[in-house]
Symmetry: C2
Subunit: 351 residues, 2 copies
DNA sequence: CACTGTTTGTCAACCGGTTGCCATGAATTG
DNA sequence: CAATTCATGGCAACCGGTTGACAAACAGTG
């Protein structure tokens, strides 16, 4: 290679032969430069590096840009810089309403800070999750993983390339946002104790769920403190159907109060118990987890430990954006409070 | 200056300062070209234009690419071509569970066809919606608008630039996916008639909702056919709260069967009526619309006209992708069937 | 063997911003 | 008033693919 010729310097006298792009071709910084009578690079600086050009030129350029209805081409910008003003959110299951609040929270913060949200799901599969993550990595500035199912190591590997924030799980060395279950569970168990219950069952979630374990630990601790007996039951899947299926085990356990891994399980369980003629909460108290949309549609409305999922989504997006902006902690867990929402499905044991 | 020297070629003995991009710098087609012993453009063609290069070279290049763990830089590709393998979905309200299924359907088809979904919401505001749409337009290949609130003209203007598909509304000249309410409403009203109801109330949705009008028309037509009286009531907002507020009007109307614009209204209405001691369905039958998540959590579970929203999302994404791929109709409405889901909130009038 | 038609690969000009380096002229200072 | 900063704008080389134009290689005919 001997003679590096300037590509744009060619005598492009031809008529404005707009390449490809359908519809109206947008104005470029070159157009602005022509109108404002300055060099394209000056336009670029005026538009992206505040203070780098004089106030006078700045104004000139801004007016020209406004006049031409200019808007940057994100790809042209992303190509040399690698920045896209976009971040990805991967949720374990789009079907699960738990994630809708998270999505909403993240989306709100994103658009509020002039970022775009890209959504993907893993269908509860670690492999799919990893694939999706890798795919997104190429096009986003950062990633939020909500209830990730993949290994800690994989998460850390991803975080090497771009900032990653995790929701609903704690991963060493990664910034996380996690509801602190203790307060909410404490309130729930104390309420059970004061209502005369002696034995509490916990219906667990998926084995690979980090959060399910934390909740079980929380229940054990709170029960010990309140001198209640705690038993653990398993569920096949964390859905309404899964909840129905646990009804047998719940009855067999002899517990008079039940805490479930999530609201879906609680709702299914309640439906099944009621179908069998059991009165909730008189014979069995049921407390769910998360306070998802629809938790108060049931009769009686579901008592539940609310996780502020919307806040989690917002906080995670906020942390990620701070990280991208240069401020913010590169690791550490942010804990958000949970609280008991007392509704009708729990109460005094009257059998 | 006679010798244009490459600036970076200077004695850059410093540390290999990779331009921008954090982390590992990916392999490029230039690396592949070097390994395979061909020209970069040949690599490009081998990778994007099937059949343009000989089978032998093709294989050579593919092996080199695999060996280098190559993956295209989406921005570099998007810059000259304008194609991003991404499409946008704008929903009227992320809070509203109606859209959950739509989002899920669209996301599924997107990833299935190797596209990425970008999500945005309009918060029920035509202005915000238009802003979001304009913003997304720059980065996506096409757009899906779910229950758009903006003008028909604005929608058509957007569609001039890139393919647009609309869900839950019919816009002349634009491909649309719309649940055909007639079958479902017909079933609902016939069921009411056969259960001894004589007067049916329709609780309408937001005034700017195209779909609400279609549903009202459907109710009128079906009632006429079944020789029932139909009255229309307004709601303040299409939420559970809005439903509660309509209870007064519903009772005052003297109707014994109610169809609401959506399930949220129905659920709110039912809660309020039950709180006032009215027995559902014995004294008043309630039928919602959409069959959203949670519609069966209520007691009695909600009878509702199901709109296959997941299918709508899938179908819309499918049409968009077909359009982008060159096949598919550029306009016209795809109607999907609705059906009555009989649950407990409707039944024989026994007052 | 010359001659035309078709593959297949190469060259180089893009797409539209970003940014390191340098020249210019104004402002500051001794 | 000369010397030295310093702020400002311009030049051109990128980022990593895509693609039109063209040449070389190859095959098929007369």
């Amino acid at each position: 290679m001997t003679e590096p010729t300037a590509p744009h310097a060619a005598p492009s006298s031809g008529p404005g032969k707009k390449p490809g792009r359908a519809g109206k071709s947008h104005a470029t910084i070159y157009d602005i430069a022509k109108v404002a009578g300055v060099n394209p690079s000056t336009v670029s600086r005026a538009l992206s590096k505040p203070g780098r050009v004089s106030a006078k030129t700045q104004k000139l350029i801004e007016e020209a840009a406004a006049g031409l209805d200019y808007q940057v081409n994100p790809f042209a910008r992303a190509l040399p810089t690698g920045r896209t003003n976009t971040f990805g959110l991967i949720v374990a299951d789009i079907t699960n309403p738990t994630f809708f609040d998270i999505i909403r929270g993240a989306e709100t913060t994103a658009t509020g800070r002039d970022y775009t949200l890209v959504l993907a799901e893993s269908a509860e599969s670690p492999a799919t999750e990893l694939t999706a993550a890798r795919r997104l990595m190429a096009t986003v500035d950062g990633l939020i993983l909500a209830s990730p199912r993949m290994d800690d190591d994989n998460i850390r590997a991803l975080a090497l390339a771009k900032p990653v924030v995790v929701i609903n799980r704690e991963v060493e060395g990664i910034p996380c946002v996690v509801p602190d279950v203790n307060k909410g569970i404490g309130e729930a168990v104390r309420s059970m104790a004061s209502n005369g219950h002696r034995k509490v069952a916990y219906v667990a979630g998926p084995p690979q769920s980090w959060m399910s374990e934390r909740r079980w630990e929380g229940v054990q601790a709170a029960c010990e403190w309140s001198r209640l007996e705690a038993v653990r039951l398993e569920s096949s899947k964390p859905t309404v159907d899964g909840g129905r299926q646990t009804a047998r085990d719940v009855r067999a356990s002899g517990a008079t109060a039940v805490l479930t891994y999530n609201d879906l399980l609680a709702i299914g369980l309640m439906q099944e118990l009621q179908a069998a003629g059991i009165v909730v909460p008189d014979q069995i108290s049921i407390v769910g987890f998360d306070d998802i949309f629809g938790a108060d549609f049931t009769t009686p409305p579901l008592t539940t430990v609310r996780s502020p999922l919307g806040e989690c989504g917002e906080a995670a997006a906020g942390r990620l954006l701070d990280l991208l902006g240069g401020s913010g902690e590169a690791a550490g867990t942010l804990r958000v409070e949970t609280e008991l929402v007392l509704r009708g499905s729990s109460g005094r044991f009257v059998a």
